[in-house]
Symmetry: C2
Subunit: 421 residues, 2 copies
């Protein structure tokens, strides 16, 4: 796209879509085609995608395209009719979970899944209190905006929400478990019954953290003792991304009461779900009617099933572990030459690279991070940043990312960091 055409399209976009619609990068990127880990612009220039976790099994994977095309031409209707696709998918998906998690409800988005999980937790506990991390993001609905402080709405935190510290392995300024305990006690002191601890198992928006052994279990126990549920938000870490396990929560022995799934589930097709203990779904289902018009339609189920099969057939979880370790190694070598890299962390192919102005004080290098993200885009590698100070590079490529792609990313990051000096 010529820059005048791009400018014109941006102006039209702003007119029709308004202020909520923001674009990445100083120079917005306009892909026209995707394949595997590559996105192409209209001049057929290839951009290495190290950011998009939705197209998790690779952009435009033929198995998903075929599933969607075939089923769309055959039948697309709702779950008040009987169709094998949702049953077959549910059984297959549930086989990926501990046997206690034996039920699934399908929605269209991770937001709908998290919102439903809160409804189930409030129904079960009879309470309203929700505990989330200080810079959490859980979705776009009214109920989820309340528990998504990273939206920075400027609104006061709702009285039934408590913010706790993420298990920050780099700064170690706070204790996640102690923070959860204090939140529960504070709620109870104010007469608020805890309904749930809701955590993203890789703490994506807080800055990409992997809790140390036992932290999630201890926090979950504390909330359960107070009558609440432990909800694992797997919208980001789920479906093998963390490499060592299918679901982020499985790094620890504790089994969540509810697990929410989204982004990579349909490789871009809008499909999501809540998985959990059937007793909880039954309790909720007998009290309240829940019907999601598009949720679990045959096209969505076939798309999601294709994703699950590819994940297994192409061994993408093992690839995430292997290439993720390899990439982290490469990034840590870069850190030897670039003082601005304070920390390299993450699991599998969800990696955070924290940039700091000073390794002693750990002062966040927010401006540098923005410069790196834009510099990488100019070098045709797509990444972004995360964390409260947006100083942590977020590297989260499709799971078909290979070692050669990791090499390319490290090489271009090296050049970009050299430009900073």
């Amino acid at each position: 796209m010529s820059s005048s055409t791009a400018a014109e399209l941006i102006a039209r976009r702003q007119r029709a879509l308004g202020a909520s619609y923001r674009l990445f990068y100083e120079e917005p990127f306009a892909p026209v085609r995707g394949e595997g880990v590559w996105l192409y612009d209209k001049n057929n220039a290839a951009y290495l995608d190290a950011y998009n976790n939705v197209a998790s099994i690779g952009h435009c994977h033929p198995a998903v395209v075929a599933a969607i095309s075939e089923q769309s031409a055959l039948l697309n209707t709702h779950t008040r009719y009987l169709h094998p696709s949702i049953v077959e998918y549910a059984e297959d998906l549930l086989s990926e979970f501990p046997p206690q998690l034996d039920n699934m409800t399908m929605t269209c988005t991770g937001s709908e899944a998290n919102d439903l999980a809160l409804r189930i937790a409030r129904c079960h506990s009879g309470g309203t209190g929700i505990i989330v991390t200080r810079w959490a993001y859980h979705g776009v609905t009214s109920a989820l905006a309340e528990v998504s402080p990273s939206l920075a709405t400027g609104l006061p935190t709702a009285s039934h929400v408590r913010l706790v510290e993420a298990p920050d392995s780099y700064r170690r300024t706070a204790d996640f478990v102690a923070s959860v305990k204090a939140a529960v006690q504070d709620m109870q002191a104010q007469g608020i019954k805890p309904a749930a601890l809701l955590v993203d198992s890789i703490f994506s928006s807080d800055g990409v953290f992997s809790p140390a052994n036992g932290e999630l279990a201890a926090a979950a126990q504390c909330v359960r003792d107070a009558g609440g549920l432990y909800i694992a938000d797997e919208v980001q870490p789920g479906f093998g991304r963390t490499g060592g396990q299918r679901w982020g929560f499985a790094r620890e022995s504790v089994i969540p009461d509810l697990v929410t799934l989204g982004k990579p589930m349909g490789n871009g097709h809008p499909v999501a779900a809540v998985v959990g203990r059937s007793a909880l779904f039954d309790q909720f289902g007998h009290q309240q009617r829940y019907f999601n018009t598009y949720g679990g339609n045959p096209v969505s189920c076939k798309a999601a099933h294709a994703v699950l099969r590819v994940l297994r057939e192409e061994n993408l979880q093992a690839n995430a572990r292997d290439v993720g370790s390899y990439l982290k190694e490469g990034l840590r070598k870069l850190a030897e030459r670039h003082e601005v890299i304070g920390d390299v962390r993450g699991e599998g192919l969800f990696i955070g690279v924290e940039l700091v102005a000073d390794r002693e004080t750990q002062a966040p290098a927010t401006v540098a991070a923005a410069a790196v993200v834009n510099g990488m885009r100019r070098r045709q590698v797509l990444i972004s940043s995360t964390g409260p100070m947006a100083n942590i590079l977020k590297i989260r490529p499709p799971l078909v990312f290979a070692r050669k792609h990791a090499d390319l990313l490290v090489e271009r990051l090296d050049a970009t960091l050299n430009d900073l000096r």
Copy 2:
């Protein structure tokens, strides 16, 4: 499907999906294929679809299948990159609205659209109060369950929600406008600031009502005078279904502040939107970050654009008006011979047939309605029922429904009603 196979699939479904998942009809229907107004079971028996408003331009319309297939193979990503599909669709869709409604935000479901509309209304008004009809349904999120009394959750109505009477043209037991005025006054007396009047323009779940000239305008004015917005929920009546106009709200001269769209928008593909005044989106967008991962992706935009084009090219709104009138005529003739039909009403191809045990007392014939719905299913015509007593037959076919299909429906309804005697 043999009945043993069906029973087995139902048992597996209950095991994996639990209590929330309910099936229509005494003998559940298992379609395997759809085309136009027809759904086919595995024995290739054809069922006339007079119920599904999602597949609005006809099941598996080739233009939508082609749009989805082609774009899925090319690129499916989010709106933080620049892509013409959302801009082109937004401009074309907005051309279908009064010029004051000049912005659009895309979501994946009507629930997400209604939930976002509430967030925008609360942001604009600084209030929390929401007014809905007594048997309203607006969606599945936490915030929408509060304003969807038809879910019959058994939970007390939230303190910031007021229920008003629908403009019931048959029973005429209550005055919609007076009811809205009283709700506003009651809120204000209790220190609750009204944020919005949220109404389905065809009052689908209340029982299918068309407000008399001026009723919506007067109710909207009353809420606006108190600082709230008028939100038209067009998830059911929108996109030409009501025949006389593209949007249900346009039966009256009043223009809503926000309009929510869903179900038929992608003919089954999960896509939805909020359309409204740009000043409202700007105010919200500057205060709060809103990003919907799948919302407005190129596949969804291409699917929705194909639907809009087919709606115009095949003159489906005019067809809805013509066939809707013709069908109502046929149903009214049936009423001459079947005492159980108390009222035939609706707009275009959204028709309600109210069954009563006694025309004088207007006592709802709930059991008869269930018998008719199941009897029609045995005669291979799909309809359902609505209203607080579920005694109103809900007839809401794809918009490609022709006069010959109306004839078939009337003929089989006649036979089914004869069986009741």
